[in-house]
């Protein structure tokens, strides 16, 4: 007999309790709680000791470097990877990546992965009985440009069920992996869509106790990005954490010196 799964109302009450407790804590919480029991998989996978303060040194001050030898420009279009067109709402996701000082993160790798329009991942562990799309893999890469802009063309992902609790559904989202100027600025996150009723119920999204922090993960619909008879447009900008290197150690600043 399978373990009895909790109901959504039990999970929602747990989320509300943790959020209420966090309100008492000064300073806010701009990053997700690692110890967040409503997200059941976190229970045995979060560190219990405080992270140790360290000053970054050596390699930690330098992000890996990527370039055009790493990424083909066609990898930014997830709708042209197969012989036919994928099913679903064609959309553009674009925005700008800056570091904590507001400097653009130039020519840096951005990776995305997502479910198809029916909410199904290609991954073999995805058991959701929704159809695979033979024309959609759901994986893309691009490099940011000289102003830090990235741009993907894709299909709007569907929501999908998971087994965190009974009748659990993830809101539609795209996973995004980003690098900055420094190794310490590494970010993996998920971007969501405005007005999704599942956001309020989702223990992964709600692992951010600060409503303003959650809002930063929701892309904005932008009609100026929407193109006539072709695709809808969503804008989502990214701010990485601050940098530690002195100006002389920063390769991007050195490049500025040379025009």
């Amino acid at each position: 007999m399978a373990t009895q799964l909790e109901s959504q109302s039990v999970i929602s009450e747990e989320i509300a309790r943790v959020h209420a407790a966090m309100l008492e804590r000064p300073g806010g919480a701009p990053q997700p709680l690692t110890d967040f029991p409503p997200y059941r998989s976190s229970v045995l996978r979060h560190p219990t000791q405080d992270q140790r303060h360290a000053d970054p040194e050596g390699v930690e001050l330098v992000a890996p470097v990527f370039g055009h030898s790493d990424v083909d420009t066609v990898e930014a279009d997830l709708t042209i990877q197969h012989a036919g067109e994928p099913i679903g709402e064609r959309m553009v996701l674009t925005g700008r990546v800056v570091d904590g000082e507001g400097r653009p993160v130039r020519r840096q790798l951005v990776e995305i992965w997502q479910a198809n329009a029916g909410g199904r991942y290609v991954h073999k562990r995805d058991q959701h009985p929704a159809p695979l799309d033979p024309h959609f893999t759901g994986v893309g890469r691009c490099l940011t440009d000289d102003e830090g802009h990235y741009r993907f063309t894709t299909i709007k992902p569907g929501p999908y069920p998971w087994r965190n609790h009974h009748n659990a559904w993830r809101p539609a989202h795209i996973h995004v992996s980003l690098f900055g100027h420094e190794f310490t600025q590494r970010l993996v996150t998920q971007v969501y869509f405005p007005g999704d009723p599942l956001l309020a119920l989702d223990p992964i999204y709600q692992s951010l106790s600060d409503p303003a922090a959650r809002e930063r993960l929701v892309a904005a619909y932008d009609h100026d990005l929407t193109t006539h008879e072709w695709a809808t447009g969503y804008r989502w900008d990214v701010v990485l954490t601050g940098s530690h290197a002195t100006p002389l150690q920063r390769p991007s600043d050195r490049e500025d010196d040379h025009g």
Partner: protein, 179 residues
């Protein structure tokens, strides 16, 4: 200053997106000077984690930090960066060189750990055996051990990662990182 964009878990479905051919081979196995860095990622119950991802950043043997593109298509270039998903037994490995210390510092591999169930990435260091620095010396013995690679009989380096519980790995918070 703008607030940072928050993290979310890497989730269970990154295996078709983030790993790529040669991701863990900073050097071809068998290259003179190549070493295998390997370990197991475990949870609070001591169970191996089959859906974790480890990324590695390091200097070359002379302690120089590569600023070289080409990690996705290496073409013989040493970029000082690699990525390895864990297998069904929670194991990961890299083929690489032992880094030199950068600017007189201790020699270590910088690692980032991601996993389903882990809501944000964790940073740690895997020091070469016998290396010392102020940071390491400032830790209690039990914690210090979690950051030291172990030389195996076959010459490889072992570095196990424990996300929680007995022997929990020391993870790092850098200035400006909120907790």
């Amino acid at each position: 200053m703008a607030e940072p964009t928050p993290a979310q878990t890497v989730g269970p479905f990154f295996a078709d997106a983030l790993p790529y051919p040669g991701d863990r081979l900073l050097l071809a196995p068998g290259t003179p000077g190549a070493v295998r860095l390997h370990g197991t990622v475990r949870d609070g119950a001591g169970e191996p984690i089959p859906d974790a991802l480890v990324e590695l950043r390091q200097a070359d043997a002379a302690g120089r930090v590569p600023r070289v593109e080409g990690s996705l298509h290496r073409d013989g270039r040493f970029t000082g960066w690699g990525r390895a998903a864990t297998d069904g037994g929670g194991r990961f490995h890299f083929w690489t060189v032992e880094p030199g210390g950068v600017e007189g510092g201790a020699a270590f591999f910088a690692l980032t750990v991601f996993a389903r169930g882990l809501t944000e990435r964790l940073f740690t260091r895997a020091y070469l055996p016998g290396e010392q620095d102020v940071f390491l010396d400032g830790l209690p013995e039990g914690e210090r051990r979690t950051l030291q690679t172990v030389r195996e009989d076959d010459g490889s380096l072992r570095f196990d990662v424990r996300l929680q519980g007995e022997g929990e790995t020391v993870f790092l918070r850098f200035p400006g990182h909120h907790r």
